[in-house]
Amino acid sequence: MNVTLLLQLAVSGFLLGGVYSLIALGLSLIFGVMKVINFAHGEMMVWGMYVAYTLLLWTGVDPFLSFLVSAACLFLLGYALQRTVVNRIIDFPEAMQVLPLVGMGMVFENSARLVWGPDYISPRSRFSLSSLSLGDLMIDVPKLLAFSLAIIITIAVLLFLKKTDTGKAIRAAADNRTGALLVGTDVNRIYAVCFGIGAACVGAAGGLLVPIMPLSPHIGAPFTLLSFIIVILGGMGSLSGAMVGGLIIGVAESIGPELITSLFHGAGLDLDFPHTMKQVVSFFILIVIMLLRPQGIFGGRRG
């Protein structure tokens, strides 16, 4: 078993997992409060990426700064989407909630294709090619930065929900919608703000991903699925669950194929676990967690 390789994979996976967590955080927040699954989540992330890319192109501002603009733009988009589409379907059965949001995902994807074209774009930014070496280990600087910022944003969102009045109102509306209405909370506005914050999280994650992966209009959908897995794994609606779930999936997908191959070889089998089946590892973990703890790792009774 090649320990250096496994360590390297664990580090890369862990760092990427931090960004996955931020993407999933938005989904989890929206679900936790409104019980709506945002199936346009990945496509909204792509819009966040394009906003940061456009700023880089026009003004040269690094995506590690302009992710704030992505977050702001996506907040507005999320707010508007909640007011115009999501609010109308909030009491519908789940199956009917899916369709408008899947449809919005298509609208986002194809409008991005119209605006920015279909090509894969890997813009050069200040840190996009940086790496640090720690002995035999290589630390990818953009991933490290994205990871650190993702953790900071997550903590900020948690603090916002705990300490501010709006945050408390969001939690109240999540806990008991009727109760929140009765004490005079403008639940519709709170829902829209909450959807905006969820969208801002994914927009920020998009901005942070610009130096890490090539962007193209269609890359969103797999991220919706990924964040869905993370959210179920961590516990539906649990924000710390999304954080831990992201890290678990990041590490598992990175290290899984090599670790399983090593185990096969250790058992005397001449078998390689193909990298094409990376996602099998995440789904396997998901199934195990579902069997042992159906409410997810951090899911409470509500989960």
Binding site: P118, Y120, S122, M138, P214, S216, S254, E258, P274
Partner: protein, 417 residues
């Protein structure tokens, strides 16, 4: 409302005018050359929408060119009409969209880049007796089912592997390299798998002096290759033989740079992603010296110069490459067959396609002509290399624009990026 009878119609001055025009110029009604619909099945959205759009543009440019030259002359100057379909890089959509095109009257289909989709469309066309000309799709299997209606202008995987070893032999001999330690990577779709497996099979069967240290497959549309490149790094190969697509090609090169993987070179055994304008634009110095064995344009061809000039003018920043080039050529093949068949009937068109001998100097290789299986016997590949920010043909010697550089003179991280 009052009904307009023949009498009242003729009593009106404009009614008389219309009748007069019809009587005097009957050609307006009767001898207008009819349109011949051809279905273009390309993936203009989805994982490879960049390639799909380039290919649709190639198809369309060829149709426009034929129409500008007076259409299909043997059929009274009938114009071609391109019916468009987008299969979103999904096989099941390729089938349903092709079905739609056939219902809308397409006399022949052209497309679709992805080998998996090509297989689906070929099966459908066989059932519906509609001729299908594959512009790009390389997996050997497509034409090995005994289909009577499928023709392929593109090179097949076996041809790629054969040429790759031919070029490798020359490079290794000229550069005094006796053995190469290599890693083969490919995407996990039908094309990637067949292309990777065929290359590996040839290396093994011909006992070619490449020690394959690992064969790594990853999903099409992957967005993180750090794990795969970490593995490559521990194996310490001399050469990477990747079969990529535009997105993962960029990820691969960037990761190789960031993880400081020393190499003698990157040599694609037949790989998209390594020659598109966006690869050079975004990767800059990192794209330098990357080599790829592809059915490339013929840089010395008159037809190439002419078509490429118009394509680049229409779509600034783009040029005719493997995909748009073959997309153009395939429509030319259909037009040539229609010209000789003088009919749009499937049987006549298939018979004409079977007898195709279309001289061309748009792509490397000779005139397009189909063997018993429907494969273009003269489709060929060239070794290209990115030099000075442009794609240059470096092998075979007869088509070469520049001398190849191997091993690369500077590692990726020494190129001042």
């Amino acid at each position: 409302m009052k009904k307009l009878s023949r009498k009242t119609f003729l009593r009106r001055p404009w009614g008389v005018g219309v009748m007069a025009i019809i009587l005097v110029f009957p050609s307006l009604l009767f001898s207008q050359p009819k349109e011949i619909p051809i279905g273009s099945v390309q993936a203009v959205t989805g994982v490879i929408s960049d390639i799909g759009i380039a290919m649709r543009r190639g198809n369309q440019l060829a149709v426009d060119d034929i129409n500008a030259r007076g259409g299909i002359k043997s059929m009274g100057g009938a114009k071609l009409k391109l019916l468009l379909a987008d299969y979103e890089a999904k096989e099941e959509v390729a089938r349903s969209e092709s079905e739609r095109l056939i219902k809308e009257g397409a006399v022949c289909l052209v497309g679709p880049f992805l080998s998996g989709a090509a297989m689906t469309v070929a099966t459908l066309c066989e059932q519906r007796s509609i001729p299908f000309v594959i512009d790009v799709a390389a997996a050997d299997d497509i034409t090995q089912k005994g289909f009577k209606h499928t023709f392929r202008t593109f090179a097949i995987s076996t041809n790629f592997a054969n040429n790759m070893l031919l070029y490798m032999t020359q490079i290794m001999k000229e550069k005094n390299v006796s053995r190469i330690r290599g890693v083969v990577t490919n995407t996990g779709d039908l094309f990637g798998r067949v292309q990777g497996a065929t290359f590996l099979k040839f290396v093994k069967e011909k006992k070619f002096p490449i020690d394959v240290l690992a064969h790594i497959e990853y999903p099409l549309g992957i967005q993180d290759l750090s794990a795969e490149v970490s593995k490559i790094k521990t194996l310490k190969p001399d050469v990477l033989f990747p079969i990529t697509r535009p997105g993962d090609a960029k990820l691969m090169v960037t990761e190789l740079y960031k993880q400081r993987v020393p190499l003698m070179g990157i040599l694609g055994p037949g790989s998209p992603g390594l020659y598109e304008p966006e690869f050079i634009r975004d990767m800059k110095a990192l794209s330098e010296y990357v080599m790829d064995n592809v059915p490339w344009v013929n840089p010395k061809g008159k037809m190439y110069a002419e078509v490429n000039a118009r394509f680049s003018k229409l779509y600034p920043g783009k040029y005719i490459d493997t995909n748009s080039g073959y997309a153009y050529l395939a429509v030319m093949v259909i037009a040539d067959a229609l010209e000789r068949a003088k009919s749009t009937k499937s049987a006549d068109l298939v018979a004409a396609l079977r007898k195709t001998y279309l001289r061309q100097d748009l792509m490397v290789g000779g005139a397009v002509t189909f063997d018993a299986k429907g494969d273009n016997s003269n489709a060929d590949s060239a070794m290209i290399q990115i030099q000075g920010g442009a794609v240059k043909v470096v092998l075979p010697d007869k088509a070469a624009e520049a001398k190849y550089v191997f091993p690369w003179p500077k590692q990726l991280w020494d190129r001042g990026m």
